[in-house]
C-alpha cells in the first residue's frame, strides 16, 4: 500500500500516491528551472500548472480519487519535457549569449594597429584598456628608468603577432565562431576596399595634375 500525499496546484487539492508525488515534484522543478530566467516566466509556469490541474482532473472520477504514477507519466508525456519545448523566442538568444563561456584571451601583438611592433596595442587589447595609455606608460618608464626599451624589445620578440583571423579574435577575447570569423573577414575586406578606393582616388588626382 502506497502512502498518499496532497499537492495543491492552482488552488485545487490533488491526492497523489508517493511515487506519483515525487515524479510530479521533479517535473515541476524541471519546468521552474527551465523558465526561471525567461521573460514572463511566472505567467508561463502558471499557465502550465493550470493545464496540469485540468489534465489531472480529467483523470479523476467518483471511483478514482488518487492520482497514480501512470497518470503523472501520461500527463507529462502530453505536456512534454522542458527540453522538448525549446521555444524560439528572442529571449533565448540573449540567455545563450549571456551564458556563453568566456573565451580565454591570449596575448598577441596587434600588428594592425601598431606604432612600432604592436606590443602596446596588443597589451591594451589584452588588458581591455586604450593602447595609448600603455604607450604613455612605456614612454614615462623610458624617461624614468630607461629599462622600458629593453622590456619592449623582449616583449616584441616573445609575444607572437596576431596574424590569422582566429588569433585576432582571441586577442580581442571574442569567441572563435564561424559567424565571428565571417564578421572579421568582412570588416577586413571593407577596409581593403576603402584603401583601394582611396588609392584610385589619389591616382586619379595625380593623373589629372599631370595633365
Amino acid at each position: 500500500m502506497n502512502k498518499v500525499l496532497d499537492i495543491n496546484i492552482k488552488g485545487i487539492i490533488f491526492h497523489l500516491d508517493e511515487d506519483a508525488f515525487n515524479k510530479l515534484n521533479t517535473y515541476l522543478d524541471e519546468i521552474n528551472k527551465h523558465f526561471s530566467h525567461k521573460k514572463g516566466c511566472d505567467e508561463i509556469i502558471s499557465d502550465i500548472e493550470n493545464r496540469l490541474a485540468e489534465l489531472f482532473q480529467q483523470k479523476l472520477s467518483d471511483k478514482k480519487q488518487v492520482i497514480t504514477l501512470e497518470d503523472v507519466d501520461e500527463v507529462i508525456s502530453i505536456m512534454g519535457h522542458p527540453s522538448d519545448f525549446d521555444d524560439d523566442s528572442e529571449d533565448d538568444n540573449s540567455t545563450i549569449s549571456s551564458n556563453r563561456p568566456k573565451v580565454k584571451k591570449r596575448l598577441f601583438r596587434n600588428i594592425d594597429e601598431r606604432f612600432l611592433g604592436g606590443v602596446c596595442s596588443g597589451l591594451g587589447a589584452y588588458l581591455n584598456i586604450d593602447p595609448t595609455w600603455v604607450r604613455i606608460i612605456f614612454l614615462l618608464a623610458l624617461f624614468l628608468a630607461g629599462g622600458s626599451v629593453i622590456v619592449y624589445i623582449v616583449l616584441w620578440i616573445v609575444i607572437p603577432p596576431a596574424r590569422t583571423v582566429s588569433e585576432k579574435l582571441e586577442m580581442q577575447g571574442d569567441p572563435v565562431t564561424i559567424s565571428n570569423i565571417e564578421k572579421a573577414f568582412k570588416e577586413e575586406m571593407s577596409e581593403i576596399k576603402d584603401k583601394l578606393e582611396d588609392l584610385t582616388e589619389k591616382a586619379k588626382e595625380s593623373f589629372k595634375k599631370k595633365k
Partner: protein, 113 residues
C-alpha cells in the same frame, strides 16, 4: 544534416501563424487551441504552446480574459488585438507566397510536348 531538427524548425516556423489564425475566428480557450493544433498534427508536446502564447501576448498581438470554470481552474480566453490582426494578415500573405513558390519548385517538371 539533422533532418529531424529541420522538420521541427519548419513546423515551429508556422506555429505562430496557426495560433493567430485559430484565435482569429473567435475567442478561444487555451485547450481549444491545443486541440486544433494537435488535430492538425502541428504540436507534439503541449508545453511548447505556453511560452509562445506569453510571447505573443507580450508583443501585444493577443489579449485574454479570465473566466471561472465550474469544473477546474479558471480559464484564459484569448482574442486577437488589432495589432494581432495585422500580423496575421501579413503572415498569411507570406505563407501564400511561400507555399506557391515552394510547390512550384517541388512539382515534378512537366515535359513540354
Amino acid at each position: 544534416m539533422d533532418i529531424e531538427k529541420t522538420n521541427a524548425q519548419m513546423r515551429k516556423g508556422v506555429l505562430e501563424l496557426c495560433v493567430l489564425s485559430i484565435i482569429s475566428d473567435q475567442e478561444v480557450y487555451t485547450s481549444d487551441i491545443l486541440l486544433s493544433l494537435k488535430d492538425a498534427q502541428l504540436l507534439v508536446v503541449e508545453g511548447t504552446l505556453y511560452p509562445l502564447l506569453t510571447r505573443l501576448k507580450n508583443d501585444s498581438l493577443l489579449s485574454y480574459r479570465w473566466e471561472e470554470s465550474s469544473a477546474g481552474p479558471p480559464r484564459k480566453y484569448y482574442s486577437l488585438t488589432d495589432q494581432g490582426k495585422e500580423a496575421l494578415s501579413s503572415l498569411k500573405d507570406t505563407w501564400k507566397q511561400l507555399t506557391d513558390s515552394v510547390n512550384q519548385l517541388l512539382e515534378p517538371k512537366k515535359t513540354s510536348k
